[in-house]
């Protein structure tokens, strides 16, 4: 009995804490979750986590980015060979961009005019001009380019090639490769520290993150993830996100079903948080109190309280959820 009472009290406290956290996250925030297998974006209220609706997309929606003004959400739809343009307010598809075959991930220039898209099948980075609707530049990169990331001033774009095991550093002005930096095996996603001095690259098959010095374009450090109870081969990091103060990074562990919390300065893993099956996508709420994680093999999103480092909710979404984007 005593036991039961304690846990009830605990739940009440937890729920009220959650409500506090959620209300602090801002009132109108919405989550967009892309699901590879049933070709929809699931729209959730970031506060209540109620489903607000579904937006049917072209086939296989994966990578997502907002326009700089936040009014548009671009969604790469791989099998539809297109990037869908979603009006965030209206929650409707208002256009499609013919960026080339099988787009997966991409980034948008700081002025919002160009998309930098990795084209897996043709081993190309394409530069797409949104206004004219044309590809205005192409760079041949290593096979299966995956993560694409521009730096803050837009003069450099980083592209990870899953198969060549390297990150290409490309000048956006000349579209020339400035450096090819060898990283771990099967590099997937990229994130820059807020000051732009370091590029973090997740290596899915090496179970690690390579840290590049962006001045030297050289690997300076490597963090190997070793969550307890998992063998090295079951640790497959993919998604990365960093707090605005550059102190903490969150890395999804793929098959190891955890999210690693990393102290950026010390290169130390502070905690591993258990989530659903095969977490890939990850996003932080505006106040950075909540972390949303898409679990590709359990068809749900785990919501983590960043302070307690505990999962506070898990919400069912579409089949094989890939990524999550938050509109404030």
């Amino acid at each position: 009995m005593q036991q039961a009472k304690t846990s009830t009290v605990f739940i009440v406290v937890a729920v009220s804490l959650l409500c506090l956290t959620l209300s602090a996250a801002g009132s109108a925030a919405t989550l967009f979750v892309s699901s590879e297998k049933d070709h929809v974006l699931t729209v959730l209220d970031a506060e209540s986590l109620e489903q607000l609706g579904e937006i049917a997309t072209p086939e296989r929606p994966r990578g997502m980015r907002f326009s700089p003004d936040g009014k548009r959400l671009y969604v790469a739809c791989g099998d539809g060979d297109t990037v869908a343009v979603v009006d965030v307010q209206a929650r409707k598809i208002v256009g499609q961009l013919d960026v080339g075959d099988d787009p997966e991930t991409f980034d948008i220039s700081p002025d919002g005019k160009s998309l930098y898209v990795s084209n897996e099948d043709d081993a190309l980075l394409s530069v797409f001009d949104i206004e004219s609707g044309e590809v205005v530049g192409e760079v041949t990169v290593g096979p299966e380019p995956e993560g694409v990331l521009l730096n803050a001033n837009g003069d450099t774009v980083y592209v990870a090639s899953e198969v060549a095991n390297m990150v290409h550093v490309i000048d956006t002005e000349s579209l020339e490769i400035r450096a090819n930096v060898v990283v771990g095996n099967r590099p997937r996603r990229l994130v820059l520290t807020p000051d732009g001095s370091e590029l973090w690259v997740s290596n899915e098959l090496s179970g690690s993150v390579s840290i590049l010095d962006t001045q030297e374009n050289a690997v300076r450090d490597e963090i190997v993830f070793e969550p307890r109870g998992f063998r090295p081969e079951d640790v497959t990091p993919v998604g990365l996100v960093m707090t605005r103060n550059g102190e903490t990074a969150y890395v999804t562990m793929g098959r190891a079903n955890h999210v690693a919390v990393v102290d950026v300065a010390d290169r130390e893993v502070e905690a591993y948080i258990l989530v659903g099956q095969r977490p890939w996508g990850v996003a932080l709420s505006a106040d950075e109190n909540l972390l949303y994680v898409t679990n590709g093999l359990s068809d749900d999103v785990s919501v983590i309280d960043a302070r307690s480092r505990k999962v506070v909710r898990s919400v069912p979404v579409g089949r094989v959820p890939y990524g999550v984007a938050i509109a404030e």
Partner: protein
């Protein structure tokens, strides 16, 4: 620990510096890879490849090597190397060895060997004194990894034993333990069945009976050529050992009991499949179709993986030095990406590439072995095939 971490970082930094040099246009060295095959290889005759038997080659695997070559351009450039394939087709082992020697004289040190088991064994025997490395693309014979093993012969293709272990794990996991075996008349059929018997024993399947089948319609032989008559009795699974596949393909849906067929048809263990959807497999499959105009099989995957292994070794050692590459390939730091989810490397005790095995139907991958729950003290991939303790391979 700390020292090794530091060393690793230093190596990474050096590699990065090497990559920069390569971009700056340092002169590239040619790293040539020989590809050896037989003119009249019975496995690739038109009648057989165009039947699309499960688990059998659907054409020569060479396009797999070509796909890998174009995939590896950046990796090779980072090592200051340019990869090249030198394809050689000859009438028999003797002629093939002569060609191999010629290539060796021009500096070729790596050879993909796409020949039947006995020819592969002979090439390995003859070349034992030469400083080179052979990659077995397509010979599944257990003996090549056992009594006939050679220190300079690496096996990309899995052994029969690995395939049968994968099937046995799956059957045990779904509790289909009672097996009726149908075994063909050829030596190759019996060899496959022998592997299966060992696997069945290892994982706890019960083979109630093994019956010999023959191909044909002779009514006097009907007890051995008629599937319904061959499949009387009690069983959960009909297992077929048929190296060619012609008999096996007619077994599903003709058994006397409504039971599944496995082995050489039905549920077939294979090391690649065109319908595999995870770990980047769709991208590789579509690149292969572009190159070869047909779907990719395990044999093609072997040729692809062989070239990729050499490119990866060049990338990580930062050069084309034969001994450095060989030691890296045979060492325990090797991490190969076979697009099957796991980190792949060669087993030190028999040079076999450890890799997941797929349980396949004609158009789907039902499961991936090692099946969950089959554990090994060091690497679960080593639940497939001869483990170190039972290995009869001795490189000295």
């Amino acid at each position: 620990m700390r020292a090794s971490l530091y060393l690793r970082r230093a190596t990474l930094a050096l590699l990065a510096a090497g990559a920069l040099l390569a971009t700056a246009g340092a002169g590239a060295e040619t790293l040539a890879i020989g590809y050896l095959e037989l003119e009249d290889d019975p496995r690739y005759v038109e009648e057989r490849v165009e039947a699309y038997y499960q688990g059998r080659p659907w054409g020569r695997p060479y396009p797999g090597a070509e796909v890998a070559l174009s995939e590896s351009r950046f990796a090779a450039a980072a090592a200051g190397a340019e990869l090249e394939l030198r394809r050689v087709t000859a009438a028999d082992a003797e002629e093939l060895f002569a060609q191999m020697q010629k290539l060796h004289e021009t500096g070729v040190r790596f050879f993909l060997v796409d020949t039947p088991g006995p020819v592969t064994a002979e090439l390995a025997r003859r070349s034992a004194e030469l400083p080179l490395l052979l990659f077995n693309v397509s010979a599944l014979d257990d003996a090549l990894r056992q009594e006939s093993c050679q220190a300079h012969l690496l096996h990309i293709a899995p052994s029969h034993r690995m395939l049968q272990d994968a099937l046995a794990q799956y059957l045990v996991s779904v509790k289909w333990r009672r097996v009726l075996a149908l075994v063909g008349p050829q030596q190759a059929d019996k060899a496959i069945y022998q592997s299966f018997q060992t696997s069945a024993k290892r994982y706890g399947l019960r083979i109630s009976e093994a019956r010999d089948f023959v191909l044909g319609t002779d009514p006097r032989q009907r007890s051995r050529n008629n599937v319904a008559l061959l499949t009387t009795g009690e069983y959960d699974v009909v297992y077929v050992a048929d190296a060619r596949g012609e008999f096996a393909r007619a077994v599903p849906y003709q058994t006397q009991k409504p039971r599944v067929t496995a082995g050489s048809a039905g549920l077939v263990p294979d090391w690649w499949h065109w319908a595999f959807e995870r770990y980047g497999a769709p991208q590789l499959n579509s690149r292969f179709i572009k190159q070869a105009d047909r779907r990719m099989t395990g044999y093609d995957w072997s040729a692809w993986m062989g070239v990729k292994a050499i490119a990866e070794a060049a990338l990580r050692t930062g050069g084309t030095d034969f001994e450095a590459l060989r030691d890296y390939l045979r060492g325990d730091e090797l991490v190969l990406d076979g697009f099957k989810g796991n980190r792949l490397s060669f087993r030190a005790w028999d040079n076999q590439l450890r890799q997941p095995i797929m349980l396949t139907t004609p158009n789907w991958v039902v499961g991936l072995a090692p099946i969950e729950g089959f554990l090994h003290q060091t690497n679960n991939l080593d639940t497939l095939g001869q483990d170190e303790r039972e290995s009869r391979c001795d490189f000295d």
